[in-house]
Amino acid sequence: MTASSDEDFVAFVRDASPHLLRTAWFVCGDPVQAEELVQAALEKVYLSWRRIDRGAATAYARKVVLNHHIDTRRRRSREVLTDRTPERPAAETRPEETDALVRALATLAPRERQVVVLRYYVDLSEAEVAATLGIGVGTVKSSASRGLARLREVLVPEGDHHA
C-alpha cells in the first residue's frame, strides 16, 4: 500500500465515517457498538483498498458494515462487555422522537432493520438494497413491508393509524 494510497484511505474514512456511523447506529442501536462495527469494517475495507473503485467505496464500506453486523451477532451468544466505560457526555439529550425511533428499530429482526435503514435513511432503491445485502428484491419488499408495519405498531398511538 503506497503512502498516497494510505492518505487517500484516511481521507475516505474521514469523509465517510459520519454517515457510516449513523447507519450502523440505526442498525445496532448502540453508539459504542456502532463505532466498533464501522472501525472493524473500515479496517477490512483497507485490505481491499487498492482494488476498490473509489466511486463505489462508500457503498462497499456500507455493505461490509452490514455484513459485519450480521456476522458479529451470529458469532457472539452474549452481550459484548467492555472493561472500560466509553467517555461520553454525562447526559446526552436527544429528541424523544429519536429515542422512540431507535427503540422501535430494536423491535425489528436484524435483516428487517437493515432493509428499513437502507430504504428510508440511506434512501436506496429496492434493487440497490438487494445488491447491498445480497438478497432478492422480493425479500427487500417483504422485509420493508413487515418492518414498516412493525414500526407503525410501535410508533403510532393506538387508534391513530393511517393507510
Binding site: 500500500m1 494510505d6 484511505f9 484516511v10 481521507a11 474514512v13 474521514r14 465515517s17 456511523l21 449513523r22 447506529w25 453508539p31 463505532e35 466498533e36 472501525q39 472493524a40 469494517a41 473500515l42 479496517e43 477490512k44 475495507v45 483497507y46 485490505l47 481491499s48 482494488r51 476498490i52 473503485d53 463505489a56 457503498a59 462497499y60 455493505k63 461490509v64 459485519h68 450480521i70 456476522d71 451470529r74 458469532r75 451468544s77 459484548v80 467492555t82 472493561d83 457526555p89 446526552e92 436527544r94 429528541p95 422522537e97 429519536t98 425511533l101 431507535v102 428499513v116 435503514v117 428510508y120 435513511y121 445480497g134 438478497i135 414498516l148 414500526l151 410508533l155 403510532v156 393511517h162
Partner: protein, 354 residues
C-alpha cells in the same frame, strides 16, 4: 408512514460518535500483517541462540529428555516473536506492555520452557517458566502448553507442534481482538506462538489451542478433533471439548460457538467474503462454510453474477455424529461484490437461510 419514517430518520439526533482515521489505518495494517502471519507457509526458520537465563518465575518442573533429533544437543533453542513497534488496539492506542517476546527451550533444565519479554535493546526479562515434554513425535497431537504472566497481562505465550500449519487460540469469551505471531523452535518439533489481546482480561480466558496439520487433521490440546477437508485448502472442525466450530482456509481461520438450541439451529460463517486478492484482477475463491444439523438436506446457494469456478453447495459430515458442514465456493468477479449471497438448507421440513 413511509414519509414519516424518512423524516424521523433524517431529523434524528444521533449520539456523539467518531473514529480516528489514523487508528483505522493502523488497524487495517495490523490486519494485513496478521493475515500474512497466520498463513501456513509463513512459518519462519529458527536461529539457534545460546542465552543466559534468569532463574525465576513459574513452572511445574518435570524432568525432560534432550530432543533426540536436536542438531545442537545441550544448547538452548529460542525464537523471537512480535516486533519492536508498539501493538495497537482497535482504537489505535498502544496496548500496554511488551510487543516483542522470546520463547526458549533449555533442555538442561527441568522447567525447560522460558517465556521472555524483549526490550528495544534486546534485553530479555523473564515472564514465566514452564515445561514441555520432549522429544516431540512428528505427527499426532503433540504437546501443547500456553499461559499468561503478571508481567505481561495482555499476552498469551505457548508452544504447539511444529507440524501445525495453521492454529488458533480457543477463546470464545474474548471481547477484544488480538495480534498473533509464531515461529518454529529449531528441530525440537515445536513452534512458539504469542497472542496479544487488546483487553488484558481476555488473555486469561483462553481455553485451548486448535490447529491443523498438513494432512488436514485437526487437533486440540486434548487430542484429535472431528473435522472434514472441504477443498484443497479448507478444513472445518467441530470441537465439542472447547465448544467451538470453525475452519482453516487459505486466507485465515474462523471460529464460533457451537449452537446449543434444541430446535434446528444453523450457524453460518463468513458475512464479509474471505477473498484472497492475489494482485491484478485475479482473485482466489471466496469460501462459505456453515454448520448445520447432520439431518439437514437439500442445500442451496445463490452465487453472484460473474462468480466463476462455482463449487457446491454440498453437505459434508463433520465427523462428530451431530453436524454437517455446508460448503460453497466460487471466484468473485471483483473485490466489491459478494461472491455467494445466500446459503440455505432444509431441516425438519423447513428451509433455513443465511
Amino acid at each position: 408512514m413511509r414519509d414519516d419514517i424518512s423524516t424521523l430518520f433524517h431529523e434524528s439526533t444521533p449520539p456523539s460518535m467518531s473514529l480516528d482515521p489514523y487508528a483505522v489505518l493502523a488497524g487495517g495494517r495490523r490486519r494485513r500483517r496478521r493475515r500474512v502471519a497466520l498463513t501456513g507457509s509463513a512459518l519462519t526458520a529458527l536461529a539457534v541462540v545460546a542465552v543466559a537465563v534468569a532463574a525465576s518465575g513459574l513452572g511445574s518442573g518435570r524432568p525432560t529428555a534432550l530432543p533426540a533429533n536436536s542438531s545442537s544437543p545441550g544448547l538452548p533453542v529460542s525464537v523471537t516473536l512480535g516486533g519492536t513497534e508498539p501493538m495497537l488496539d482497535n482504537q489505535g492506542h498502544a496496548i500496554p506492555g511488551p510487543s516483542r517476546f522470546a520463547v526458549e527451550i533449555d533442555p538442561t533444565r527441568p522447567d525447560n520452557l522460558g517465556y521472555y519479554a524483549v526490550d528495544g535493546s534486546g534485553t530479555r526479562t523473564l515472564i514465566a517458566r514452564s515445561d514441555v515434554t520432549l522429544p516431540v513425535a512428528p505427527t499426532g497431537a503433540g504437546p501443547v502448553t500456553w499461559g499468561t504472566g503478571s508481567a505481561a497481562p495482555h499476552v498469551v505465550l505457548g508452544v504447539l507442534p511444529a507440524a501445525a500449519t495453521s492454529w488458533m487460540l480457543a477463546n470464545p469469551s474474548a471481547t477484544s481482538g488480538s495480534h498473533s505471531d509464531q515461529a518454529t523452535l529449531g528441530v525440537t518439533g515445536l513452534q512458539a506462538f504469542v497472542s496479544v489481546y487488546d483487553n488484558a482480561t481476555d488473555a486469561a480466558k483462553a481455553t485451548g489451542v486448535i490447529w491443523r496439520d498438513a494432512a488436514g487433521s485437526v487437533w486440540d490440546q486434548s487430542g484429535p478433533v472431528p473435522s472434514a477437508s472441504l477443498d484443497a485448502d479448507t478444513v472445518a472442525f467441530v470441537d465439542a471439548r472447547l465448544d467451538l466450530w470453525g475452519d482453516f482456509t487459505a486466507t485465515g481461520s474462523m471460529s464460533a460457538p457451537i449452537p446449543t438450541t434444541a430446535k434446528p439451529d444453523v450457524t453460518w460463517s463468513g458475512g464479509d467474503q474471505r477473498v484472497a486478492l492475489s494482485g491484478g484482477d485475479q482473485f482466489t475463491p471466496a469460501v462459505h462454510v456453515g454448520l448445520v444439523p447432520l439431518r439437514a438436506s437439500r442445500p442451496e446457494a445463490t452465487f453472484a453474477p460473474g462468480c466463476s469456478q462455482r463449487v457446491g453447495p454440498t453437505l459434508i459430515p463433520a465427523g462428530d455424529g451431530l453436524h454437517a458442514f455446508l460448503y460453497a465456493s466460487c471466484v468473485p468477479a471483483s473485490a466489491s461484490t459478494n461472491a455467494i449471497t445466500g446459503l440455505s438448507v432444509v431441516v425438519d421440513g423447513t428451509r433455513i437461510s443465511s
